[in-house]
């Protein structure tokens, strides 16, 4: 039995919920059991957003992630709030363009990705989230990078077809970062 619990957190507008949806859909295509739970409470209206994604090869029990195996932190308050909830041996993905502190834990694997800056440099400033997702997929064989086109196809509405290519570009940037 393998279960990966993910917590993705940041500001509203950073595509937090979309990233989660993307990972959940990728899991679905890999024939995993998945759940996706967004925050919808008053905190959403205060500008922060987070979502819980669980991928498992057995049915998902509680959809609520309290001890994530993977944390994606897209801003400092999110990192501060959740850094200590990550399980030992877990992974933390940090958007290092927006967060200039280092994680002070030595029992987790930390990936610093200047995603917001990278996205800005490439003219895809709204897709920092997908850069991080691209990098994460490389580290997760149960999801893998292969087949991401299908997920992009599913999740980007036909009306916004131009965004498909840009999403693919962001995913590849993340995949190749630090290589």
């Amino acid at each position: 039995m393998k279960t990966t619990e993910m917590l993705i957190a940041g500001f509203g507008g950073q595509g937090i919920l979309f990233s989660g949806k993307f990972l959940a859909y990728k899991g679905l295509l890999e024939e995993l059991q998945v759940s996706w739970l967004p925050s919808y409470g008053p905190e959403m209206r205060g500008g922060t957003a987070n979502c819980n994604v669980i991928l498992s090869d057995t049915p998902v029990g509680s959809p609520i992630v309290t001890s994530p195996d993977v944390l994606i932190a897209m801003n400092l308050p999110s990192l501060e709030k959740y850094v200590n909830t990550v399980v030992a041996g877990g992974q933390i993905y940090v958007d290092s363009s927006l967060i200039d502190v280092k994680v002070e834990r030595d029992d987790v694997e930390v990936f610093y990705i200047p995603a917001t800056q990278m996205a800005k440099d490439e003219g895809i400033s709204t897709l920092a989230n997908m850069i991080i997702v691209g990098h994460l997929l490389e580290n997760h064989p149960e999801l893998s990078f292969e087949g991401v086109e299908e997920v992009v196809e599913k999740l980007v509405p036909a009306k916004k077809a131009a965004l498909k290519e840009l999403n693919m570009k962001a995913l590849s940037l993340g995949k190749n970062y630090n290589k």
Binding site: A24, Y25, L28, L37, G61, T66
Partner: protein, 353 residues
């Protein structure tokens, strides 16, 4: 097999309702169930159905009453405070014996409360929020798939018995996405000879009414209705058992609480604790028989709820208080963690309550 797609629980309800042949939706928006109305608003005009956002919850439930009286498959949806407003209409619908589906995606209460998930409308749903002697069938989905399957089942039960079925969900299951499949099945059609469809001067006219000024007539009507309820109690209880075979402790939980409890039960099993779970799927009729039988085997029960303890009363009734029943709960929009449930299991194991 049908394709697995990802869908929000609220959207699954709406899609399932349409597939069940519901072409009439009347509602009024409220968090955390507004996606149901949004989905209906988008879909209904395309399939010749009616989506109507009424001026209030009270108006919308009375529109449901009207459409139900005309023999239509009809539904409304709301969240806790909105259901309180609909309660008068629910009583009228029950008193008129017409079928309807009402969805409550619960949030914390009382009053305006909050918008986070809750199960504190258990009493309201199962004991009657409206006035008078009446019952509703109450279904408690625990997954997005069940949001859909129990919606379809809910319509069928409502039509079969001419009662209201309430789908009692919560904010978490409403908002979350999970894989779901829809089977291509034609909706079951029930004859409704009592419906107000126009006589065309070919038959005596039908009357749908809840007013009986002669007490003996009203009493007779109530006795008849309770014979119908007795049938439902006999035939329609649904539940799921998990690791109950050799269980010495029985956790009872429904909806989102049952999923958290399941994690805790699995954890406790790893520690060698003999614990199982009974998940009521129908809250009314309550799965009394299975709990009564469990009371002869287990040492104690734990009721896990997102309320101050409401279902626990039915657990005690069903088990005839033969065994101690403890409560593990959070409320106001808070959700217990599997660890909290596990620690309740540890206590029960030591015989502490």
């Amino acid at each position: 097999m049908a394709e697995r797609i990802l869908m929000k629980g609220n959207e699954a309800i709406a899609e399932a309702a349409i597939r069940a042949g519901c072409l009439h939706y009347f509602g009024y928006p409220i968090t955390p169930q507004t996606e149901i109305a949004a989905y209906m608003a988008k879909k209904m005009p395309k399939i010749g159905g009616v989506f109507l956002q009424a001026e209030s919850e009270i108006a919308s439930i009375n529109m449901v009453y009207g459409a139900a009286a005309a023999g239509m498959r009809v539904m409304t949806s709301s969240s806790s405070p909105g259901i309180s407003l609909k309660s008068e209409g629910l009583s009228y619908i029950a008193g008129s014996d017409v079928p309807a589906l009402v969805v409550n995606v619960q949030r914390g209460g009382p009053g305006l409360g909050g918008i986070q998930p809750s199960q504190s409308d258990y009493f309201q749903a199962t004991k009657g929020g409206g006035h008078g002697d009446y019952r509703m069938i109450v279904l408690a989905p625990a997954s997005v798939q069940e949001m859909a399957s129990l919606t379809i089942k809910g319509f069928d039960l409502a039509d079969k018995y001419c009662v209201t079925t309430m789908l009692l969900a919560d904010g978490t299951i409403g908002q979350m996405m999970e894989p779901i499949t829809f089977e291509d099945a034609e909706p079951t059609v029930y004859e409704k000879p009592w419906a107000l469809t126009g006589t065309e001067c070919k038959r005596p006219h039908n009357i749908v009414n809840s007013l009986y000024l002669k007490p003996d007539e009203l009493e007779k009507k109530n006795f008849e209705r309770f014979e119908k309820y007795a049938e439902i109690e006999k035939n329609e209880a649904m539940w799921e058992e998990y690791m109950m075979d050799d269980a010495e402790i029985c956790v009872v939980a429904f909806g989102i609480a049952s999923r958290i409890a399941k994690n805790a039960v699995a954890e406790a099993r790893k520690e060698g604790i003999k614990v199982g779970l009974i998940r009521p799927i129908t809250l009314w009729p309550f799965p009394t028989e299975v709990l009564k039988a469990a009371a002869d085997k287990v040492k104690s029960f734990i009721s896990v709820e997102l309320s101050m303890g409401q279902m626990i009363e039915d657990v005690k009734l069903a088990t005839e208080c033969k065994r101690p029943v403890s409560l593990c709960n959070r409320t106001g929009g808070m959700i217990p963690t599997p660890e909290e449930v596990l620690s309740a299991i540890h206590k029960a194991e030591k015989g502490e309550f």
